[in-house]
Each structure stands twice: as structure tokens, then as C-alpha cells.
């Protein structure tokens, strides 16, 4: 019997495709997310917008809080560890979460290395801003990628930039001849074998989701049309005026991302979206998307 292999890890990501993964901070929010049609929840103590407001070091959440959420819902539960903090990841694996997010939203614990994700039975999702970063994470064992947005802003511009960057680099790579792959691997700082795979298949070897700054159904539809296979929503649901309604609308928008007639109906009368914080007003050193190496 085979357990904890990359096929089982990406297999769960396959099941999450076309869905929405929502940040929740307590069992009540988790229930609202599940009832609204979320296909998974991300359990954390503070949504990114609050981490940004409060400052300080952001760490893995209290396992008892995550456990409360695992008991409250039947859908998969994910939780975040700090970049490079393999001890936090070990604790989350022991707890039995369904996916671990090695996340730039928390304060990085290692400024050179990421977690060796092959060493874990629990699958990992990691963020990336470009193809090289995505392939380094996959090389370390990530079973799902999410292109990074600027978390906690409600500003979609970074998510769009990074999703476009990854898809553009994949397209370029697939036009190269075999003789050019090694130089491209060097330029990207990515493992040659993975560069070869992407060049031949024209897509990442693991599912590619998008995250960061999603605040409306239209934002979610935009990312899906740009090639994301599912969407993470952080602060966008529970910082909106009517979370249950906004959550359900974003779920529908992912399903009907290419159907403007349905999107129009979905977008009507939702109440206010999160206020948001334009990404360009944030000091460069306070931006989260740049974390990760």
C-alpha cells in the first residue's frame, strides 16, 4: 500500500480544482465558508489584513485552534507554517491537517532555505512569483503551487502580475529547443529535470492555484481566466460587509469564470467588498510577495 507519495499529494490538489479555499480564524467562520461552498479552508489565527495591521512576528497558529476548525467542518483543512520552519511543519503533520502552506504571509524562519517537503507525508502548497521560484518549490516537494498576490490588501494587481509572469514563462519555455533547456534552467535557477518537463508538457507538473488580493467574484473570475486552476481567498470574505453572501458569490464565480451572463447575476447586490489597501501605497519592505527564495 502506497501512502504519502507525490501522486496522492497532487491527487488531493486535483480534487480542489475549480474551487475556493478560504481563510478562516474560528469554527464559526469555517462553518460559514463550508456552507457557502468552499472546497477547503485555511485555518489561521489572523487573516493577512490583520497580520499587516498588527505587525509583530507572525507564526504558526495554536494547534488547538486549528483542531477546533478540523472538528467543525468535513472539507479539507489547511494550515500555515513559516518559510523554512520544518518544526512547525512537523507539528502540523502530526496534527493531521490535509495540506500545509509554507507561507510568506507568516514571518520567514529561514532566509536561505525552504522546508524539504519530500520528507513529509502531508502535502505542501507554496507561493511563487515566477516560474523559477515555482520550480524550486516543486523541486523541494511542493504538490501544489499558488501564484502569490499581495496578501491582505484586497488589491488584485500582484496576483495578476505573478500569474501572468508564470504563464508567460511557461509559454516561452515551450518554444525553446532542447539545446536551450540547460541555459534556461540556469537563468531560471530551476532544476533541469523540471525545466525539461515543463518545456515538453507546456504546464507545471503540479496544479497551479492563485492567491492574494481577491476581494470580489470578478477578481476570482479574472484569475481563473488567466489560467489559475482554483483560487485562495484570504481577507476578502470575512473583511467584506456580508461574508456568507460574498463567499458564495466567489464560489459561483470560479465555476462560471468564463460565463459573463452568470457572472453579472453573481456580482449583483453583494454588499461592500473589503476596503483594501492599494499595493503601491505599501512600503517595499512591508510587502509579503517578495518573501521566498
Amino acid at each position: 500500500m502506497e501512502t504519502g507519495t507525490i501522486r496522492l499529494k497532487t491527487g488531493l490538489a486535483e480534487m480542489l480544482k475549480g474551487g475556493v479555499i478560504m481563510d478562516v480564524v474560528n469554527p464559526e467562520q469555517a462553518k460559514i465558508a463550508e456552507d457557502a461552498g468552499a472546497s477547503a479552508v485555511m485555518a489561521l489565527e489572523r487573516v493577512p489584513a490583520d497580520i499587516r495591521r498588527d505587525g509583530g512576528v507572525a507564526r504558526m497558529s495554536d494547534p488547538s485552534m486549528i483542531e477546533g476548525i478540523m472538528k467543525a467542518v468535513t472539507i479539507p483543512v489547511m494550515a500555515k507554517c513559516r518559510i523554512g520552519h520544518f518544526a512547525e511543519a512537523q507539528i502540523l503533520q502530526e496534527l493531521g491537517v490535509d495540506y500545509i502552506d509554507e507561507s510568506e504571509v507568516l514571518t520567514p524562519a529561514d532566509d536561505t532555505h525552504h522546508v524539504d517537503k519530500h520528507a513529509f507525508k502531508t502535502p505542501f502548497v507554496c507561493g511563487a512569483t515566477n516560474l523559477g521560484e515555482a520550480l524550486r518549490r516543486i523541486g523541494e516537494g511542493a504538490a501544489m503551487m499558488r501564484t502569490k498576490g499581495e496578501a491582505g490588501t484586497g488589491d488584485i494587481v500582484e496576483a495578476v502580475r505573478h500569474l501572468r509572469s508564470v504563464t508567460r514563462e511557461i509559454k516561452l519555455l515551450s518554444t525553446l529547443s532542447e539545446a536551450e533547456w540547460m541555459a534556461e534552467a540556469k537563468r531560471l535557477g530551476a532544476p533541469y529535470e523540471l525545466v525539461r518537463l515543463v518545456a515538453k508538457e507546456g504546464r507545471l507538473p503540479v496544479p497551479n492555484f492563485a492567491a492574494g488580493g481577491v476581494a470580489t467574484p470578478a477578481d476570482a473570475a479574472l484569475l481563473m481566466q488567466l489560467g489559475a486552476e482554483a483560487v485562495f481567498v484570504g481577507s476578502g470574505v470575512f473583511k467584506s460587509e456580508n461574508p456568507a453572501r460574498m463567499a458564495q458569490a466567489i464560489v459561483k464565480a470560479v465555476t462560471f469564470a468564463r460565463n459573463p451572463e452568470e457572472l453579472l447575476k453573481i456580482s449583483k447586490g453583494l454588499g461592500g467588498a473589503m476596503a483594501g489597501l492599494p499595493r503601491d501605497t505599501i512600503q517595499p519592505e512591508a510587502r509579503l510577495a517578495g518573501r521566498g527564495w
Binding site: T3, G11, L16, G19, T74, P76, Q93, K252, T255
Partner: protein
């Protein structure tokens, strides 16, 4: 032949590859109108609560129930839960097309997901060993009489058939072989011939 795959959420893409490899067309189903003219329907793996929610919002519960009365339907993992007459752990609404009880998340969480080789006994064919990919899988707790068990894991049924309704708790769309997709397409072909004759 045109096979529909419910495309509200979940593992849709792998079915497209299997179906086109077997020479049939595949249509993504999101609205009741998409069911028109289809020879069969696959309810794929995904999250059953998400699928139920969207099915209810877009009037698909009633139209799939009607479709499944006369045409072949195959539920996989979450899709099998949607088809069941009874759902446990916890109880939830379902289409009631499969006379069986399905128990959700019966093996545990993702760390307990597994792949195991299973003997598949399809009517009129030799027993084949196929890959059973079980991801946060449900369990078929009991089946009413009249059902046929196509595969067991130990004593437990993991693939069952009631007439033109098929259910598997594992994911043939993620396996290397295409035995079950071939079998479902054959069911659809036969049902189509019967409809044309009748």
C-alpha cells in the same frame, strides 16, 4: 458519443483525457441545459458539500435525478456520495440514484489517503488488476439487493453497479489504466442503442 462531466468543481480535466483517448467527446456540465443530448454523465471527485451547494443553486439536482433515471451515470468519490440514497458522517442531501449507504471521509484525513492494487471484475471480462487511488475516500457501508460488486478491497465493496448507475470510491481518472472508463462508455453505448430501438 458524448459524455458529460459535472464541472461545478473538482477533478474534471483527467476525465477529458481518458474519454478522448477512448474516442468519445466530453462536455462540461454546469447548467441543466448542458445535459441535453448527452449519452452519460460522470459526477467526478471534488468536495461533495461544494458540489451540492452549486447543484442546488443552479437547478441541477432535479435535472440530474431525471437524467439518471434513464441514462448511465457514474459517481466517483464525492460523486458517489452525491448519488447515494443514504449518506452518513454526517448525513447530507443526495440524489438517491444509488441504493446504497455511503459514509464520508471513512478512512480518515489526507495523511491516510492511499493507493492499492484492486482486482476488478467486470461482467464478461477477465479479472484485471487496477490501481485504486483513494483520496479522503468514502466507504460503501451497505448496498441494497440487486447491486453488483465490481471490486472489493478486502471484504469491502469499492466499485458497485446498479443497472446503469455506477459508483466507485476510488479515482480511476488518476490511475494509469482506463478499464472503468472503457466499461462506462460501453454502458452508455448500450443504453443509447436500447433507446434508439425502443
Amino acid at each position: 458519443m458524448n459524455i458529460g462531466v459535472l464541472a461545478l468543481q473538482g477533478a474534471v480535466a483527467p476525465h477529458r483525457e481518458k474519454i478522448s483517448h477512448l474516442g468519445a467527446d466530453m462536455t462540461e456540465v454546469r447548467l441543466p441545459a448542458d445535459l441535453e443530448g448527452l449519452d452519460g454523465l460522470i459526477l467526478p471527485g471534488g468536495e461533495s458539500t461544494t458540489l451540492l451547494n452549486l447543484m442546488a443553486a443552479y437547478g441541477l439536482e432535479e435535472s440530474i435525478r431525471l437524467f439518471g433515471r434513464f441514462r448511465p451515470v457514474w459517481g466517483i468519490c464525492a460523486g458517489a456520495i452525491l448519488l447515494a440514497q443514504r449518506v452518513e458522517n454526517p448525513t447530507q442531501r443526495s440524489l438517491g440514484l444509488l441504493p446504497a449507504t455511503l459514509q464520508r471521509n471513512a478512512y480518515g484525513r489526507q495523511n491516510e489517503s492511499f493507493i492499492e492494487m484492486l482486482p476488478l471484475r467486470l461482467p464478461g471480462r477477465e479479472t484485471a488488476l487496477v490501481e485504486g487511488v483513494f483520496i479522503r475516500a468514502p466507504r460503501i457501508a451497505d448496498i441494497d439487493s440487486g447491486g453488483e460488486v465490481l471490486a472489493r478491497r478486502g471484504e469491502e465493496p469499492v466499485a458497485v453497479q446498479f443497472g446503469h448507475v455506477l459508483a466507485t470510491t476510488f479515482h480511476p481518472e488518476l490511475a494509469a489504466d482506463d478499464h472503468l472508463h472503457g466499461y462506462f462508455l460501453e454502458l452508455c453505448r448500450k443504453a443509447g442503442t436500447l433507446r434508439a430501438a425502443g
